[in-house]
């Protein structure tokens, strides 16, 4: 029974997964993004034959190599955690994710293993054309290896193209294209990869700015900045547009997440987007407290526009989604729980009938289960308020991401403008800001994942499987031990990366 669940275990398992995923995501975006930028540098070298571009390309390749080496396989730990801590979930989604993830892993491994070596070892040993092709293939392979894991994540947020099999307890894929090409998945992939490109551009800008401030490797730094800022500007603008598209998708399929990250308790027409506001952390969905503390500014109609592509449209708030809103034909968690409990009860009755070999009864219960199965997950909630995710964390993470994301194109534009004017090296204030842009990029990217993952709580699979049911029945102590082991391991690896990276940056391109 749910009251016997060790919620401490669930929370520790979630914390462990968050730790692993956030650590993994320090390395992944840099790999995804910098491989494209390096491919551009390499292309310019091949086109111009200018040795400065070769030196520059080799230098950024080396830093990419450090990042890749420290980051490689950190994602595998998440797979361990699935099998140990989240065994119910792993079993239930195995049919959807298992084979594609394995195929993608093997394909990406061979693609990367082949072209990665040519990219690093191929200088003067293979033709320039094949060498350049290999560099582009490393970029393609790295980004391809992110496809299915992001599709999988999108599917958990919007589980389309599947049917639950009550005999095997598995979600089975019914329509591959629906899973792989759902708008949610496409937005997730494009948003993750374009934001990775801008993060990689900031990585290059941070280091190049530091060189310019120190008066070192000036030509290399300026050239690196021009290409990185151009690609970064394009990526940052694209990220804003597909971020808006993501918000629209969220409004359609996860309205509770949208309401939470905007702190919208009461549904509104012409709903405003919060520009400035301090969320009231103490407020509950059922009380009358103000959602914001003190001064706050909303941009009228913008949330409605974002959610429904119409200024005057109604955006449901958390109260509407918990208790229902007949006027706007919104089913609340209260009503969904009733149906969910019928789904669970039918599933149980079906199981008993099958055991008793009573086919007629089994068919009746199966039909009943199929009638209510889309609400299955709600059958496990103890109270409807559990359908609300942590509001303050979702709200703060979303606004950190949006504020930083809006600032990024301006920073890239600044770099391009002063590069064009030829006085970038004199703009110490911009270079000073530039040195921390990579950290800002990491903050925005991690905040984005917090919005995505915290904002969808309590679900592992939206509406179908709560996090509390996805877990393995372990004790909290077991997970705590490995949590702290990971913390130590990750800290050591991060220290190693930073040390090696700083040493290579200090050496600079001459020694390469």
């Amino acid at each position: 029974m749910i009251e016997n669940l060790d919620l401490g275990m669930v929370n520790w398992a979630r914390a462990q997964f968050a730790l692993t995923a956030m650590y993994h995501w320090i390395f992944v975006p840099l790999t995804l993004g910098i491989t494209w930028i390096i491919a551009f540098y390499h292309s310019i070298y091949v086109k111009t034959g200018n040795e400065e571009w070769k030196r520059l390309t080799k230098f950024w390749m080396k830093l990419f190599g450090v990042n890749f080496a420290i980051g490689v396989a950190t994602g595998i730990i998440m797979e361990f955690e699935f099998g140990t801590n989240w065994s119910n979930y792993s079993w239930m989604v195995g049919d959807i994710f298992g084979a594609p993830l394995a195929i993608e892993g093997i394909f990406a491994f061979f693609l990367e293993a082949t072209f990665f070596a040519v990219m690093f070892f191929g200088w003067n040993r293979v033709s320039k054309g094949f060498h350049l092709f290999s560099t582009w293939m490393v970029a393609v392979g790295s980004n391809l290896s992110a496809v299915w894991i992001l599709v999988a994540n999108a599917w958990m947020q919007h589980p389309v193209g599947q049917a639950f099999n009550p005999d095997t307890a598995r979600f089975e894929m019914q329509n591959f294209a629906e899973v792989a090409f759902s708008p949610y998945a496409i937005n997730k992939f494009t948003h993750a990869t374009s934001s990775s490109m801008l993060m990689a551009a900031f990585f290059i800008i941070s280091i190049s700015s530091w060189y310019l401030l120190r008066g070192r490797h000036i030509v290399m730094a300026k050239r690196s900045i021009v290409v990185a800022a151009t690609l970064g500007l394009l990526a940052s603008v694209f990220t804003i547009f597909n971020g808006d598209e993501s918000a629209y998708e969220i409004a359609q399929v996860q309205p509770m997440k949208l309401a939470a990250f905007e702190g919208l308790y009461e549904g509104q027409t012409n709903a405003g987007l919060v520009a400035i506001g301090l969320i009231n952390r103490e407020k509950k969905v059922y009380d009358q407290q103000e959602p914001f503390i003190g001064f706050n500014v909303h941009i009228p109609g913008l949330l409605s526009l974002m959610a429904n592509r119409s200024f005057g449209s109604f955006v449901p708030g958390m109260k509407d989604l918990v208790y229902g809103n007949a006027e706007h034909n919104i089913l609340g968690a209260v009503q969904k729980m009733e149906r969910g409990k019928k789904a669970v009860a039918s599933l149980d009755a079906y199981k008993q009938a099958k055991k008793a070999d009573d086919k007629a009864a089994a068919d009746v219960h199966l039909a009943s289960f199929n009638e209510y199965k889309e609400f299955l997950g709600y059958g496990y909630l103890n109270k409807p308020e559990e359908a609300v995710p942590p509001v303050a964390l979702s709200f703060n993470a979303f606004h950190v991401m949006v504020i930083l994301g809006s600032l990024f194109p301006l920073i890239f534009l600044g770099y391009l403008y002063f590069s064009y004017k030829g006085n970038l090296a004199e703009k110490k204030w911009l270079l000073g800001l530039g040195t921390i842009t990579y950290l800002l990029g990491i903050m925005a990217s991690q905040a984005g994942w917090i919005v995505a993952e915290v904002g969808r709580q309590p679900w592992s699979i939206q509406d179908l499987l709560p996090t509390t049911i996805a877990r393995t029945n372990l004790t909290a102590g077991t997970v705590q031990t490995t949590f702290f082991m990971f913390l130590a391991l990750f800290t050591l690896l991060l220290i190693a990366e930073i040390s090696i990276m700083v040493k290579q940056i200090n050496i600079g391109p001459e020694e390469n």
Binding site: M1, I2, L5, K62, G65, V66, A69, I70, V72, A73, I76, F80, E81, G83, T84, S87, N88, S90, W91, M92, A117, F120, F121, R125, V126, P166, D167, T168, A169, Y286, V334, M337, E338, G340, K341, V344, A345, L347, D348, K351, G379, Y380, L381, N382, K383, P384, E385, T468, I469, T472, N473, L474, T481, T482, M485, L489, L493, A496, I500, Q504
Partner: protein, 90 residues
Amino acid sequence: MNGPPEHRPPLLLRIYQFYRDGFRQMTVGRTLWKIIFIKLFIMFAVLKFFFFPDFLATTFSTDAQRADHVIDQLTQSAQGYTNPVKGERL
């Protein structure tokens, strides 16, 4: 005057030499490979082996048993809902 034709090693040998020479010329790469191997050893030989058994794979021997276990988890984990405002039990 043309000299004797240059002998070109077979493809597999050239690939081998390509990798061998590449690894030999590595500088920071050697440190990185050491880190990779130590990390993989810790992950697979220590963490996976001692701390992260696949629960369903190690506890049950057949897929049917695993499915039954998960179905049991799904059907035993629900409970009645009491409306905190009205005190009604659904």
